[in-house]
């Protein structure tokens, strides 16, 4: 945090070295969050890159008593939402290969249900994310990927807390409904 504050002060005094610190600290999380919303890697990188350049241009307006991470991520999430809304398509842009990459995750190997869920439902989650309205997708990403509290999401997106709860509820219901056939298939096989 101290390093971040120092970087912000550095940048506010015109030293570009401060920007490099901020980029290296926040770029991966930001690109990944935006990617989950836009589902397009190149677009995600463009959005985050433009957001950092905006940081460079407007750092004078930033209140350094506020956490930079939340301020910056809110900005890129809003940018991603604008892009997706303008695109006006909720179709998946590309599918993710959910193969070997997941082996490093903390799963319980002795739980077949978890194994099945883990091996196959990342793709399902991806597909369902694609079908969610952009606002619900952004809310899911903020809550489950960025680990924002519901109150923080409401604050950062400038929407009522009730709207956040409704979006999360609606998104969870969509995810649950979509995963139900898979779960039924597993239970049938078990049975």
């Amino acid at each position: 945090m101290q390093e971040e504050l120092k970087a912000i002060k550095q940048l506010q005094s015109g030293d570009i070295g401060g920007l490099e610190v901020l980029v290296r600290q926040h770029q991966l999380e930001a690109i990944r969050a935006v990617y989950l919303i836009t589902q397009d890697r190149a677009q995600a990188e463009d959005i985050v890159q433009a957001a950092f350049i905006r940081v460079y241009e407007r750092i004078g307006q930033f209140d350094s008593s506020r956490p930079f991470r939340a301020w910056f991520l809110k900005s890129v999430i809003n940018d991603a939402l604008k892009v997706v809304t303008r695109r006006k398509d909720h179709q998946p842009i590309e599918n993710v290969d959910t193969g070997e990459q997941h082996s490093g995750l903390p799963i319980q190997a002795d739980d077949p249900a978890t194994l099945i869920e883990h091996a196959q439902t990342s793709e399902e989650v991806w597909t369902i994310l694609s079908d969610l309205p952009p606002e619900q997708r952004a809310t899911i990403v903020m809550r489950y990927y960025l680990d924002f509290s519901q109150a923080e999401i409401a604050d950062e997106l400038k929407i009522p807390l009730g709207t956040v709860k409704w979006r999360l509820h609606a998104a969870r219901r969509s995810l649950k409904t979509a995963l139900a056939p898979l779960w039924n298939t597993y239970k049938t096989k078990e049975g």
Partner: protein
């Protein structure tokens, strides 16, 4: 579905698509450099911009000295020194146009004295689109011998009725014995910025705000430098103009006097009095205080009629500063007793808590001009 499992899946998807070695820094650094270059000429004279914006109020009722475009007239009025020489009809009216790709630059006005050269021009487009700005870029001014003049910033009055008005300044102090007139060649490109209102866009800095100049319109005019931004047009040019401009002489007075207060010696080396701007060159040794390594002097100039005017400065050769002031033409033309004062030197910390140390003067330099 629990929060944890959803979180795991989202992380897995994102990590798979965006590997850990993804790094935007080199692209961002390049882009920022480009942005910096684009706005460099405007930022150079940031303080001049603020001074001009403040003083323009004083000149709100003005006469149109020449048949200049209204928007160019406004740009000139934003610079108090140029405003007074324009009112005194000391500038040269020109009407030189160059059109490239449908964009026309019309060089309408030029002025030169022993401190600076200024050029005023308008920009228009024939494509029927609306523009927010036509930022001048890559500006170069040379004389007939090929010697260049350093750009010291400019002022833009924005775009009105599809016409943009701009003034660019160049340092002329290095000409020891200026000729009566200069044969000049001006070369520049422009970067048009289309006016596309985006209701969703957050209010942000316009190029004028970035330059420290009062914004023309703060509503929904984003200025994010993004290559895919539909507002941006690739730079157009180079526009080239050749013209003559009479030079109003500057009077240079060597003072070379040192005053010491609080063990800080400050030396005033010379004063250069010219109609559009008077400059004072003075030197302060670098700070010995490691806690406050950055230092800024607070200065003023008392003119022969007793008026104290504030100035702004540019550092050169590490220890010396060229401070600029705009006395009235009466003072310039009838110089007598002047007083240059450094009221205090303010030291700044480079690290937290970014404190200040104010060393009170004053360092006073009195001198007379014949």
């Amino acid at each position: 579905m629990t929060k944890l499992s959803t979180q795991q899946k989202l992380h897995a998807i994102a990590k798979k698509a965006i590997p850990d070695d993804t790094d935007l820094w080199s692209n961002i650094e390049r882009q920022v450099s480009k942005t910096e270059t684009s706005s460099k000429i405007w930022r150079l004279n940031r303080r001049l911009g603020w001074v001009a914006a403040a003083v323009v109020i004083l000149f709100s009722v003005s006469l149109v000295a020449y048949a200049l475009d209204n928007i160019l007239q406004k740009a000139i009025e934003m610079d108090p020194g140029l405003h007074q020489v324009n009112l005194a009809e000391m500038g040269t009216e020109l009407d030189l146009s160059d059109t490239i790709d449908g964009y026309t630059v019309n060089l309408q006005w030029a002025y030169a004295d022993g401190n600076r050269i200024a050029v005023g021009f308008t920009v228009t487009s024939s494509d029927g689109q609306e523009y927010a700005n036509f930022t001048p870029l890559e500006v170069a001014l040379i004389d007939e011998r090929g010697d260049g003049f350093t750009s010291i910033g400019g002022i833009g009055a924005g775009v009105e009725n599809d016409v943009g008005g701009y003034v660019l300044n160049f340092d002329a102090r290095h000409i020891a014995d200026p000729p009566e007139a200069l044969q000049l060649r001006l070369k520049m490109t422009i970067e048009p910025i289309r006016l596309i209102e985006d209701e969703d866009a957050e209010p942000t800095l316009s190029p004028h705000e970035q330059a420290g100049i009062e914004p023309q319109d703060t509503t929904a005019m984003a200025d994010v430098i993004d290559e895919n931004d539909p507002r941006l047009v690739d730079p157009i040019g180079s526009f080239i103009f050749e013209f003559n401009v009479p030079v109003h002489a500057a009077q240079t007075y060597s003072v070379n006097e040192t005053q010491t207060v609080e063990d800080i010696p400050i030396t005033l080396t010379n004063i250069r009095v010219a109609p559009s701007m008077t400059t004072a060159t003075f030197c302060i040794p670098p700070s010995n205080d490691t806690d406050y390594p950055e230092q800024i002097p607070i200065i003023r100039l008392e003119t022969p009629n007793g008026e104290a005017i504030g100035g702004w400065g540019e550092l050169f050769e590490d220890e010396c500063i060229v401070a600029s002031f705009v006395p009235t033409l009466d003072d310039v033309e009838s110089p007598q007793d002047w007083v240059f004062i450094v009221d205090e030197v303010v030291g700044f910390q480079e690290i937290e808590p970014y404190g200040q140390e104010r060393i009170a003067g004053p360092w006073v330099f009195e001198f007379s001009t014949p």
